[in-house]
């Protein structure tokens, strides 16, 4: 009997789940260092890496059972707890760096802007370390189990470059070839598994389902259409959102700032350790208030780190009014359908850290997502049909779902789910319902294991997806030079949205001339809202698209050609079985084929 594994490589926490043909999926406890002198198992592995200073752990600290030599740093619960007190030496959110187009993702940049750590590591290495730890923990408990069926999840907002880096990290970690799955889809698979045959009772053909995933540090939206007729329902993922660095942690921080300002006004300002303790206390207080509607306020106690606990603890309160104003109205305000969030402007003098969302209102980001999703679907006849026709598409300025599947720790709180449904109902003019039976905490890892089983056995309903974006390469226009006017870069579509796994296509009408022996560079663009573009379409201005990397290639001279000669080549796009995009140049005369590599270094 085969075992299928799913790994949730999360921004705040990682998890690993397994399932077999016979059993329901379950998460596996991960062995990790829990304290300065204790090792144990926990169901989640915090995605934190702590790089201690010399002298802090002269013998290297506690050793994991599979460790043969002292490690450079710690990973997991202890790393997160100890690193909280030394933020300069802590690496968190390494995953969000993988899709940061302006960062050198292979270079030693983490911990970001750390003045004290000399031996930094790259976002790629950090992801590799986390995956390696999960693998070692699994191997320690089940050494002989074959790992043929392994799925790793990535946010739907990850573009091909970030997906490729994740695959590379998995290979470096020793996981071999893994399949990637989008996280909102994984959450949906977990829901399908949980519901069994009952899922058809909750949806019908023509429904649009929104997967709304707001975790600790990120928010991810996806739309899935229910198609098909007469009991043969089918699912298709039709729109994905952008990478939003906004989540439950922001709420806790906002509440903590509010409380700390009130304390400072009352002449008891907090030092940085007290502020850290305040964030923890406020998180617990917020959860109590959101889960019990009868409570009017909760007492918050903020200890200092000194020994005198009773003498130095500061007492204050967190009121329902504060939670309502900040957590509910601040992050989920009821807005009009055309209210878009403030966006960061790229360029200009700006601290080049992670691109945290400038606008904390998640409902505005949701409005932006639904507006862009509508643009995307309107551009492709196939998607218009999947949604149920023009009439359904145009009934509102946004694309309104019929039902919502909630995922992520934030939606453990019922009032927040109610608020999102209320917002959608206002935009739609008719009720929007919740899909019952969601399990916000481990759904992504469980769903990944279910998907691994699905791919291997072929049994079960599969969500039709393919590439979530269309991809383009930049072509400099060949117009006459006019002083003072820079001709816009054109963009040639090389891979359409929805290109399926295991497929390939050639851009027939476009021939490129490359110099052999020299590195040629191309700009690489993508779009989430142009589903209608076909391969070979030339867009007049690449400025509308997002640029994420450069492509470079150096072609050795084919037989019968010398170095430095120009050879004609054709471009071919392939999506591998694992779901990642590859671009190749073909030389028709000699049938030779070379792969374009992504250059992920900073521009």
């Amino acid at each position: 009997m085969s075992t299928y594994f799913g790994i949730d490589l999360g921004t705040s926490n990682c998890a690993i789940a397994q399932t077999t043909d016979a059993n329901l999926p379950e998460t596996l406890p991960v062995t990790q260092i829990l304290t300065a002198n204790g090792i144990g198992e926990k169901p989640l592995l915090p995605s934190a890496i702590y790089l201690p200073a010399e002298g802090e752990f002269p013998e290297g600290g506690p050793r994991l059972p599979w460790q043969t030599e002292p490690r450079h740093g710690f990973l997991g619960t202890f790393a997160r707890d100890r690193g909280a007190l030394q933020p300069d030496r802590l690496i968190v959110s390494a995953k969000s760096w993988l899709c940061h187009p302006h960062a050198d993702r292979r270079g030693p940049i983490l911990p970001w802007a750390s003045a004290t750590v000399e031996k930094k590591i790259s976002p790629l290495e950090a992801s590799r370390d986390l995956l390696q730890h999960l693998l070692s923990s699994l191997r320690a408990t089940q050494p002989a189990l074959p790992l043929d069926h392994l799925v790793v999840t990535v946010p739907a907002s990850f573009d091909e470059v970030a997906r490729g880096l994740t695959l590379e990290a998995a290979k470096l970690a020793g996981l071999g070839e893994v399949t990637l799955l989008e996280e909102p889809q994984a959450a949906f698979y977990a829901w399908l598994e949980n519901q069994g045959t009952q899922w058809r009772k909750q949806v019908q053909s023509g429904d649009l389902l929104l997967v709304c995933d707001v975790g600790g540090g990120t928010a991810d939206f996806s739309l899935i259409a229910v198609t098909g007729k007469h009991g043969n329902l089918a699912l298709e993922r039709i729109a994905v959102g952008e990478h939003l660095l906004l989540g439950g942690d922001n709420m806790d921080l906002a509440l903590a700032h509010d409380v700390s300002e009130k304390l400072a006004a009352a002449a008891s300002p907090l030092d940085e350790w007290q502020f850290l303790a305040l964030i923890q206390a406020v998180r617990a207080g917020k959860e109590s208030l959101l889960s019990d509607p009868t409570l009017k306020e909760v007492a918050i106690a903020i200890p200092s780190r000194s020994r005198k606990l009773v003498a130095s603890t500061i007492a204050t309160k967190l009121t329902r009014a504060q939670v309502d104003a900040i957590a509910i109205d601040g992050f989920f305000p009821l807005v009009a359908a055309d209210e878009m969030p403030l966006l960061r402007r790229a360029g200009g003098l700006r601290e080049s850290g992670l691109p945290y969302a400038a606008d904390a209102a998640i409902s505005k980001h949701l409005a932006r997502f639904l507006t862009r999703a509508k643009t995307n679907i309107a551009s492709s006849p196939h998607l218009i049909e999947a949604v149920g026709g023009d009439a359904k598409l145009n009934r509102a300025p946004l694309l309104i779902p019929d039902a919502v599947l909630f995922n992520g720790g934030v939606f453990n709180a019922a009032p927040l789910r109610t608020r999102v449904l209320e917002q959608l109902t206002r935009w739609a003019g008719q009720p929007v319902r919740e899909l019952e039976g969601a399990r916000p905490d481990h759904a992504v890892a469980l769903g990944a294991a279910v998907y691994a089983r699905l791919r291997a056995t072929g049994e079960g309903l599969r969500i039709k997806s393919g590439t979530a974006r269309s991809y383009y390469i930049g072509m400099e226009s060949s117009t006459m030079a006019v002083p003072g006017r820079r001709p816009p870069t054109k963009a040639l579509c090389v891979a359409p949205q929805g290109m399926e796994e295991g497929s390939q296509l050639e851009i027939a009408d476009q021939e490129f001339f490359l110099h052999t022996g020299e590195t040629s560079e191309f700009r690489f663009f993508q779009s989430e809202v142009r589903a209608g573009d076909k391969p070979g379409d030339l867009l007049p201005d690449a400025g509308e698209l997002e640029e994420s990397a450069k492509l470079h290639i150096e072609i050795p001279p084919p037989p019968a050609h010398t170095a430095g000669e120009e050879v004609p080549v054709r471009l071919q796009a392939r999506v591998t079985e694992l779901g990642n995009l590859e671009l190749h140049f073909l030389h028709p005369a000699s049938k030779e084929c070379w792969k374009l590599e992504f250059n992920v270094r900073m521009q």
Partner: protein, 203 residues
Amino acid sequence: MKKTLLACGIVLLLVNAAVPFCPDPRGNGAAQILSAILGLVVISAALRASAPVPQIPQAAPAPVAPPPPPPRTEAEIVAFLALLQEHGRLVDFVKEDIATASDDQLGSAARVVHSGCRKVLEEYFDITPLHSAQEGAPVTLETGYDAAAHRLLGSVPDHPPYRGTLVHPGWIARSVKLPRVTGTTEQRPWPVVSPAEVQVGAV
């Protein structure tokens, strides 16, 4: 070395013995004497080689470090106390002098200890009430009742059944999964309860 010399010696003596059978008689005498002398010299050298040749003294093999001793029971207990201190500040609280503290101050501190220690207990133990009934409910204990799980108060007759009311339902740990202790040494057989904290940086 010794065997080589012996072999050479024997070969020479054989040559010596074979010389008379050589067809050419002219050099025989000299060859015979020469090979005899050489053979005897080589064999005596071989025999002397059997005496032990002084070897270059080799360093004694590095002593293999003995495996660290398993942590003592106290180490597990102190590690648990360290957890309650880390998350719940229990030791700070209990060691502090509270005679002059007001109830409000004490209450705030108690919240910190409560939430932290509760988190530790929930994470590493599964502690549930022993008796399912509510406090104040009537309870009858028959002969053979679980004596380790019940404590009798008040006026207790000689023999069961014992009729009374439940004053405290009790607690039982259904499972225990504490972190495994590491890093104990001869000098430090159990971990520190709470390390001293030094804030490094701008003074």
